[in-house]
Structure formats: C-alpha cells, structure tokens
Amino acid sequence: MQKRIICFAIFVMILNPLAFLFSPGKSCADEHSYRDYEIKAALLYNFAKFTEWPARAFASQENTITVCVLGEDPIETPLSALSKLQVKGKNITIRHINKHTDMRNCHILYISQSEKRNLPDILSKLKGLYVLSISDIEGFAENGGIINLVRLGNKIRFEINITAAKNSGINISSNLLDLATKIY
C-alpha cells in the first residue's frame, strides 16, 4: 500500500510541472531574466540587419548569411536559435570554426574571449575579407575589430571601428552608428 502511495506521489509530482507547461497566459515572459550572452546574440542578429556586404561576398552562397563562431563561448547556444530567422531574405547559418578554418566563407565572425591571445593573428587573417568581426574582448574595436560588445554596469553597449569596416568593404548603416557608444 505504501509503495502505491509513493508511486502516486511521484507521478503527481511529474504531472504538476507539465500542467504548468500547458496552462495559458504565462505572464512570466515579462519577468524573464536574460544572460549577457543572450542579449549579445540578439544584438548580433540586429547588426546583420544594419550591415551591407558587397554582392561578391555572396558569390558562393547566395541565400545564406554565415555566422562563424571562433573559440568556446556560451553565446553559441542562443545563437543557434538564429538559424530559424532571416535577414533581408537570406537564411542564417551558424558555424563553429577553429583558427585553421578559412574565414573567407564567413560573413560575420564572432571571436570568443578564449581567443584573446590570438587576436592580432586573427585580425591579420581577416584583412581584405568581407567579414563583419564582432567580439566582447576588451579593446577589440580599438585594436582593429569592427564591433566591440561592452558591458556598462548591467547593460550591453557596443563600439564601432568605421575604418576597419571600410577596410573590409562593409557598409554599416548610419542608424547603427548613431547607437554606438564610441566610434573609432
């Protein structure tokens, strides 16, 4: 008898949370708390919307914007959700790459904190490629990267290096430039 009671109690325990799953009007959405890497992933999606690449950049992949992630970073998990979305009629593909991968096929490159030491090397490899480089490494924009994600207190901001953007053949919309906290 006791065994039955315990089995039942456990079963009820499992059904309970499932019931919450199907209940309507979940007001939790407005109280959801976001991690910084989730916001950075959403910002990356928006940067793509405000950036124009030369037509040549899409020669081999007409309908896809490829986002490459270099290094190990928790941003990869929320980024994978972007593959369901589209930017200017093009699909988004997320790829994880290492330092030996040819970055020619990337439209956006996110460089993780773990690659801090290799930064000069990476930036020199990007010279002349149509790649929008984004990172949250300290001083990224100052040192030649295009968009630097910065945390100011509890909020995320970004800095843009327009010279680096020009050198990569990329055009960043003035709407985006207006929102940057610093321009190099």
Binding site: K3, M13, L18, F20, R35, E38, F50, D73, P78, A81
Partner: protein, 682 residues
C-alpha cells in the same frame, strides 16, 4: 528485484523523455522574443550576472536546504547541531548535554557514519570511527554565513563518505564582519557563554577578523530524574584573513584553536562481579587548524581553486585517547570545453597520522595512519539552452581500507521557467571501512557466570574488527521539485529511494577462552569466555521517503516556515548471517518529523519567534515520540544592541531522544531550559 526500483526507474526515464520533447519549443521561444526587440530595447535590458559558484548547478539539482544566519539568529539555537533540526530529512537526536546522533535519511546513531560534515571546506569527519565528534565547537555562531545541507549522495565535490548527505558550514568573509561584536548570556542549561569578535581592513584589498568565545553547559538529567554526569565547557578563538589580489585572484587564510573539558559517564564491562561498573571520568579535548585557499577567476565561465589545511584534534576520554593530525590538499578547476559542456574536475590528497591510547573498553593498534587519494570529474551539459541540464560525473578514490572506489552520478535538471525546477538523479556512493572496523575490539558487555550454561565462567561479548570488512554501498534514485507558487509561497519537495548493500553486521565468531587463548570449550581454570562479534557486510536494505519544506510570507510582519519528512527503513539480513542486533536499526529512525517556525516582527523593534517540532517514536529503543516548543522574544532598544530571551524544549520537563550505541553511556534526556542573551555591535 524490488519492484519499487523498476517503477521509479521507468518514471524517471519517462519524465526525461517528456521534458526533452516538450521543452524544445521553449528554448526557441526565449530567443525569438529577444530577437523581436529593437536595438535600443536590447541595450536597455538589465543583464543577470551568472553565478560564480561552480557547484551551483549540482546544488540546485539536488535536495538542498540552506540555513541562513537569519535562521540561526531567529531560532535561538546555541549550537550548529541544534540549528540542523530546521532542515527536512535530517535527524538530530541528543542524548544528554553533549552527545548527538545526526544523520540524513536514516541509519542514525552516535557513530552515524554516512554524513560528511565540512566547516569552510575542512572535514570534521573522523575516519577512526567513521563519525563526527560534535562536541568540538569552534565557530562563533554570529560568524556563520549559512549552513548548506544537501541530502543524498553524489552532490559533493569536496570529500569522501558523503553517502547520505553533506553539511557545509560556511563562515562569512572577513569583509562582512567588520567592527566589534560582543555577545554574552546565561541560563539554566547554558550556564554562561560569551564571545567577542573584532574585524578591520588592512589596506584596500585585505580584511581580517579575530574572535574568542567560551561557554559552559550544565549536565543533563537521566531518565530516572537524577542528574547526569555530563557537564562540559570550552573556549575557542581564531582568525580569518581575506585578500583580493585583483578582481580575479582571492586568498583566504583562517585558523581556530579550541580547548574544552567534559564529564563522561560510561558503563564499563568487567569480567568480575558485578560485571559492569558506572565509571565517571573527566576528559579534555583540544583542536587547532589552519586553512588556506586561493581562487583564481579566468573568466565568467572558468575558474580554479587550490586549498590546503592542517588540522589537529586531541581528546582523552576514558574510552580511547586520540591525537589526530590531518593534512589535506585539494585542487579544483572549472572551464568550458565547448559552449554546451562545462567541465569541473579536481584532485585531492589527505594524510592522517593518529597515535591512539587504548583503554579497557576499546583496544586497537597504537597508531592509525592513512593516505587518501581522490579525483573527480563532472560534465555539466546544456541540453536545451537555459532550460534542461544534464550532469554526469564521478568521484574516484583510493584509500587504505578498501582500495579503489568509484562513485558515479547522473543528474538531470529542468527549469521550465524562472519559478520552477524539476530534477532527478541516480548516484552510487560508498561508506569506506573505518579503522576500528578493520582492526579493533570494543568490549560491550559481560554475561555473569552460570548464564551461558550451568557452571559457565563469565563471558565477555566484544565487537571485533575484521580485515575483510568491506565498504557499504548505496545506489540512490532521487527526484525533486521546487516551485514559487506565488510571490509569497515557495515549495520544495524531494523524494528518494536508497538501495543499500553490504551494510555492516556483527557476525558471531568462534568462542575463545581468555586469557589462555585456548578455543572453547578447552578453557583453563580462571579463564573467561570471549564471544567475538566480528564486523561483516551481511545486510541489505531500502530506505525511501519524501521531504517537504516551504516558506509562507503571511504578511509583511509574519512568515511561517513549515517542513515535513517521511521515511521508511527496511533492512534484511542475509540468510547466512548470525547477527542479532543490526536489523533493529529499522526502528531507530523516526517515520515522521515535522517542524514549524513562526517569525513575527512586531512594532517597537520586537521580534517574537516560535518553533514547534514533532519527532516520531523510535520503537527499537523504546523512545516515545515527542513534541517540543522553543520561544524567542528579542528587543532592539538601540540600533546596535539586541537583547533576547529564549526558552527551549518548553513542553516537557525533559524528554529522551535516543540511546547511544556501541559504547554504553548512561542514557540522558534533554531538559526544558531558558537563557538570556545580548549582542552588541559597534
């Protein structure tokens, strides 16, 4: 195979499958919401800072209960042991003024051996006896930040023998205990106590504190009503230094020293009439320790910690004199292998050197030395971003008694929203043999002449260690649910099914004649018979139960904290076992325990707190169930001064909680008591 297990296993698998199926949609929902925001909105969102504690995941995917400093203060407890009564699933039973039996989820006893107790990462578990000597009381209660209690195995990364749970007492960082604190009080059982602490900064990055305290506790009362012989007193002092080298590097150095004296009343068996004597004696205990820890944070997702400590504890009760020296070193590293795999791994080494003074009651080797090597690895896998996590890990250990031990564990956690957590776990844990179980002899009782058969000499029964005694092992299946029902009511439910194997029994060995050594019945005149009960592993068992705890904020001045535990112990001796006593442990744990704390903030800076507790009977020990009530009234006449009066165990003159095992001690009861206290900060 017990069908309970199959049901639980299938339920667990089914719930995992369901979770994965249904929450796939949820992950995308969170991101699709974020991506619908414009850039300006995104820049305005406040970010939550990820927890830097590497154990956070394993702690939330486990049966955790945290006792905060506020809980300790408002409950009026004067020892860590009494504070543990607030936690569900933990049995705390006191016999007299200084003997405690504390365990989690069953198999309690004075030498309860399945609970790991740590103070700031330093273990206070005694491998000699496989137990904890609770009378060493070093910390100032006001310096405790929190006590984390994790019921169930496999949740601890630091340390071995965490079979049924871990208790981690964490003291405050020195930067949080600045200025001077003076405290003192007196009462009927707490005859007197006083403490002082001073904390200050030394430079921008360094803070320190020093403290000293002393206490004296009255003797308790025997069930007959007579005064027991168990008065005790002690004093201790210590320091803690915390330093930030930079925002990434932290150092801690802490140490304590303590000394105490106590009275003991032991029933000593004798081979001559009257065959047992009550022996009252005084003993002293001493402890000193020093611990250093260095933590370095590489990034938000990667850090490491290195810790080393030396601990000395000496005691010389009539039963056994010990001088234990422990040196321990631990290293732990956490990093991201890929964005979905967080790896935590570590190495540890512990060396113990312990000379022993034998007595007439306990005889063993003259020295205990042990080397313990351990390692662990854990992979925290994000299956569905921010929603479903799987932890797979294992501890590896090599010890002198049982050799190599493997303790794997798997945990699954689902957080459907920020208000709820559902978790499940399967783990294996072992309780390694204590030194005494390997080679020692504890004289228990003597049967007078003529008892065994007409004309028989006196017969001494003793528990005897055995080299072949193996580890006890456990496979635990657990599940839990945590939910914030409303902003004012939270609920935490944990359920478990523990399957034990190779539990300790005492098997009757061949009778001998002493002191000649000839085998029975070839005794020489003047010999006594010696009946050895040799340590064996011939018992299996199942322990299962449910634990609930809740916080109810009734209104802005009144909070209620109820908790309830149900537990059933079922033990089975192997068919070839000759043990006659071990199965009685079934009736040595209460089926039900209930605790209700009420906290009221009345006007004029007055606090009124009440704590009602019910503990079910222990039929195998003839201990009745009991209900107790503690009341506390506190007043803050000035901002820095708190005066309080606390009444404990108010409903009865005295009540019994348990009868200590292994060593026969006159069993004593817990009395009604009252004390007054002041705490002054400046």
């Amino acid at each position: 195979m017990f069908s309970m297990t199959k049901t639980l296993k299938w339920t667990l698998l089914f719930s995992i499958f369901f979770m994965l199926l249904v929450t796939r949609a949820w992950a995308e929902d969170a991101m699709s919401e974020l991506t619908s925001f414009g850039i300006e909105e995104l820049m305005n969102i406040e970010v939550t800072i990820a927890s830097k504690k590497p154990q956070k995941l394993t702690e939330t995917a486990a049966a955790v209960f945290v006792i905060t400093q506020e809980d300790i203060r408002r409950s009026g407890v004067t020892t860590i042991m009494d504070a543990l009564r607030m936690a569900p699933g933990i049995e705390v039973a006191q016999s007299g003024s200084k003997v405690w039996a504390i365990s989690a989820r069953g198999l309690n006893g004075r030498f309860a051996n399945k609970l790991l107790v740590l103070i700031d990462g330093r273990t206070v578990y005694q491998p000699l006896f496989s137990g904890v000597y609770w009378d060493i009381q070093e910390t100032l209660l006001e310096d405790i930040d929190r006590i984390e209690i994790i019921r169930g195995p496999g949740a601890s990364i630091w340390g071995a023998n965490a079979v049924n749970g871990v208790i981690n007492v964490i003291t405050k960082n020195a930067s949080e205990t600045q200025g001077t604190l003076l405290t003192g009080g007196a009462g009927t059982e707490e005859k007197g106590f006083a403490g002082v602490r001073y904390g200050a900064k030394a430079g921008e990055d360094m803070s320190y504190r020093i403290y000293a305290k002393c206490f004296q506790r009255d003797a308790s009362v025997l069930s007959s009503g007579d005064k027991a012989y168990d008065e005790w007193q002690g004093m201790s002092g210590g320091f803690r230094i915390d330093k930030n080298d930079s925002s990434q590097s932290f150092y801690t150095l802490q140490g304590d020293i303590s000394y105490g004296e106590a009275e003991d009343s032991i029933i000593v068996p004798s081979t001559t009439a009257p065959f047992s004597n009550v022996h009252d004696s005084d003993y002293s205990f001493f402890g000193a320790n020093i611990l250093g820890r260095w933590t370095y944070t590489f990034s938000e997702s990667s850090d490491m910690a290195l810790q080393a400590y030396y601990d000395n504890s000496k005691r010389n009760p009539f039963t056994l004199g010990l001088n234990k020296n422990t040196f321990d070193m631990d290293f732990q590293h956490r990093f991201l292998l890929t964005s979905r795999h967080e790896i935590i791994w570590g190495l540890g080494y512990r060396h113990i050197h312990e000379p022993i003074d034998n007595s007439d009651v306990i005889i063993t080797n003259e020295e205990f030395n042990s080397d313990l090597y351990s390692a662990f690895i854990q992979d925290n896998i994000t299956l569905v971003h921010d929603k479903v996590f799987l932890m797979i890990g294992s501890k590896f250990e090599h010890n002198d008694a049982s050799g190599f031990e493997l303790q794997p564990s798997a945990r699954l956690m689902w957080t459907p929203d920020h208000k709820s957590t559902v978790w499940g776990a399967v783990s294996r844990a072992v309780r390694t043999p204590s030194f005494i179980e390997g080679n020692g002899r504890i004289n228990q009782t003597v049967l007078p002449d003529d008892t065994l058969f007409p004309g028989s000499p006196p017969a001494e029964i003793a528990l005897v260690g055995n080299d072949n005694f193996d580890s006890e092992d456990l496979v635990a299946y657990e599940m839990g649910f945590r939910h914030l029902l409303t902003k004012k009511v939270s609920l935490d439910i944990a359920t478990y099914f523990n399957q034990y194997d190779h539990l300790r029994t005492f098997e009757q060995g061949s009778m001998l004649c002493e002191p000649s050594g000839s085998p029975f019945p070839l005794c020489l005149p003047g010999d006594n018979i010696f009946i050895p009960l040799s340590a064996g592993n011939q018992m299996t068992g199942e322990i299962y139960g449910v634990e609930l705890s809740s916080d109810v904020v009734v209104n802005d001045w009144w909070t209620l904290k109820p908790s309830y535990s149900y537990m059933k112990v079922q033990l089975h001796l192997d068919s070839n076992s000759t043990d006659t006593t071990s199965e009685s442990a079934e009736g040595e744990s209460p089926h039900h325990q209930f605790s209700l704390r009420s906290l009221m903030n009345l006007g004029n800076n007055i606090e009124m707190d009440a704590w009602l507790r019910y503990v079910d009977s222990l039929p195998a020990q003839n201990i009745d169930s009991y209900i107790t009530l503690d009341l506390r009234l506190a007043w803050r006449p000035a901002k820095n001064l708190e005066l309080s009066v606390v009444g404990q165990n108010l409903l009865d003159n005295s009540h019994a909680e348990f009868k200590p095992e292994i060593i026969d001690i006159a069993s004593s009861e817990v009395q009604r008591s009252i004390y007054v206290k002041f705490v002054w900060n400046f």
